[in-house]
Symmetry: C2
Subunit: 359 residues, 2 copies
Amino acid sequence: MTRTIKLAVIPGDGIGPEVIEQANRVIDAVLAGSDVALERTEFKLGAERFLATGETLPESEQAAIASHDAILFGAVGGVPGDPRLRSANIERGLLLKLRFDFEHYANVRPCVLFPGVDSTLANPGTVDFVVVREGTEGPYVGNGGRLRPGTPAEVATEVSVNTAFGVERVVRYAFETAKARPRQKLTWVHKTNVLVHAGATWQRVVEAVHAEYPEIAVDYMHVDAATIHMVQNPAQFDVIVTDNLFGDILTDLAGAIGGGIGLAASGNINPDGSFPSMFEPVHGSAPDIAGQQLADPTAAILSAGLMLDHLGLAAEGDRLRAAVRADRAANGAARRSTGEIGDAIIAEIPASGTPLLGA
Amino acid sequence: MTRTIKLAVIPGDGIGPEVIEQANRVIDAVLAGSDVALERTEFKLGAERFLATGETLPESEQAAIASHDAILFGAVGGVPGDPRLRSANIERGLLLKLRFDFEHYANVRPCVLFPGVDSTLANPGTVDFVVVREGTEGPYVGNGGRLRPGTPAEVATEVSVNTAFGVERVVRYAFETAKARPRQKLTWVHKTNVLVHAGATWQRVVEAVHAEYPEIAVDYMHVDAATIHMVQNPAQFDVIVTDNLFGDILTDLAGAIGGGIGLAASGNINPDGSFPSMFEPVHGSAPDIAGQQLADPTAAILSAGLMLDHLGLAAEGDRLRAAVRADRAANGAARRSTGEIGDAIIAEIPASGTPLLGA
Ligand SMILES: CC(C)[C@H](C(=O)O)[C@@H](O)C(=O)O
Ligand SMILES: CC(C)[C@H](C(=O)O)[C@@H](O)C(=O)O
């Protein structure tokens, strides 16, 4: 019996369409011969669409996206400083709107340094951790405003909103993630000595949920210190859980440590299944190199791997990751076009049923 | 004629007293034979004092500190998780209170990779930049609160407050800093695509002040991307200006890049001179290694160098930095006690009047 998966594809701007093209090819190659049929709907959203039509995310399209099983997302954003985009905010109006409205509260960003990948670090050791970033609250809520804008008496505020409801669900997800991994370790990151209100909520919730997972070793780091630990000894981390903004910052740093942002994958997960989850490379739209086949599609491809896992196709996800690993081990950081990297990864996909080592 | 400088010394907790002892020795050695006389007053403040007396920063002591020309600060903070400190917040009640009340709006943190110092990075290049971190507003103001604490309906807020007044003065300081350096470059860091209110204020102010400094090249980075740039190509930076929280995070990362937090110096500057400026190593009190002569006093010593500069003793500051450079070049990361490092740096202080290269 064929299982049909409805996939919403949002290639976006800049290098988004190029990397998503390769991710789609790899998904098809991994699923070839299986009983899974993909039905894709493409949504043209992003800066380009905004410039052409003035629209960011029409309600009807959002409803159509919501009726899919998962979303594959490239990258959005126009040329920095483009005056026509000054009044637009594609990031808030499209990407963050989807994360918030679809309750993507667990933003999952693995950091694995594959063999054959050069790290910028002198002694990275064995890097294999995952950051679970809160995705629906914190300083990202958009609360705040500007009083007397443009005058010497201007005041701007940004309100970080943190609820026990929101913190608990992501912390619980992080404990579950740690429980499913061999090292059974969770590091929570905040800035409790300065952000005392939000810090107290996070601390209370982490301690309460920890009581339900006594087998998980828990430690705490201030976000500033966490950056030092991440560059000096990334091998110490297993699962990290943190708020939306700290997670944004730490996962870009983790990207650099895992061999560059061209390899960093992410899943915006709605664990309750009430809305489709969304999978996207951590990198941006990089308009400066767009359309030249210069982008590395690996981050998008690995994001598709997270999507396969999420859809209950973990064996297919493992085969995808095995192909990426094999490609890196063989080709390292050799200069290749976007399509050549896609080709090479497809060529490395192990036959279905092959035993996989360390996938 | 002898010039008398009144110095308030707050050694603090943990390794604070050990590193400040060496900083004081180096200051005395650099000033020996000069016409500057130092008058020191020591203030015993920090977690230890709080545990003994329940006091964090009595008003009378704050007033006494205010009457000095400068403050040399070690580090404060007790053993993490000490239940007796749970209700205290030494960081907010002492360190941040001094920064805020004394209008230390320019928190200046140089990052220089000295010859002989191992970096954690594979290819650091020539690292010589300075972060000017806003020190008196942003998410550090302490605004916010907890509604229904301890219940499932708990909500905690943190309000970042950003004023044109506060942003302009630190941005202006950063432009002046860039103007005094050979590369004439300023990078401002924020997260304007998400924190749109504060981001708009920062952007407006940076553009307005830039108009007065057309010779300075200005670029912008999102804070997440800035972490990648900092590990992949730290040599690109000259002066960075950013808000209080982003500056906190980026300067710990910069510490790791500049050879470790044991070398990272800072000045909490009140450029108007209405209150004494305060000089402190970026590192914390490290209670786990306290009292064992294991701490590297170099960050405290370099902070004393920034203090000499600030007090109009730039030649003495240059001699101090020349001694630190010479010590690192000779001894690299050799394991030495706190006092041995102090001894070695003192032995390297060039005679007053010696021409200095690259100090
Ligand atoms: C584009 C931007 C809004 C986004 C974020 O800040 O979350 C990006 O940096 C990311 O990490 O996915
Ligand atoms: C101790 C803490 C309050 C402080 C800060 O967050 O500013 C420290 O991390 C620093 O960078 O000086």
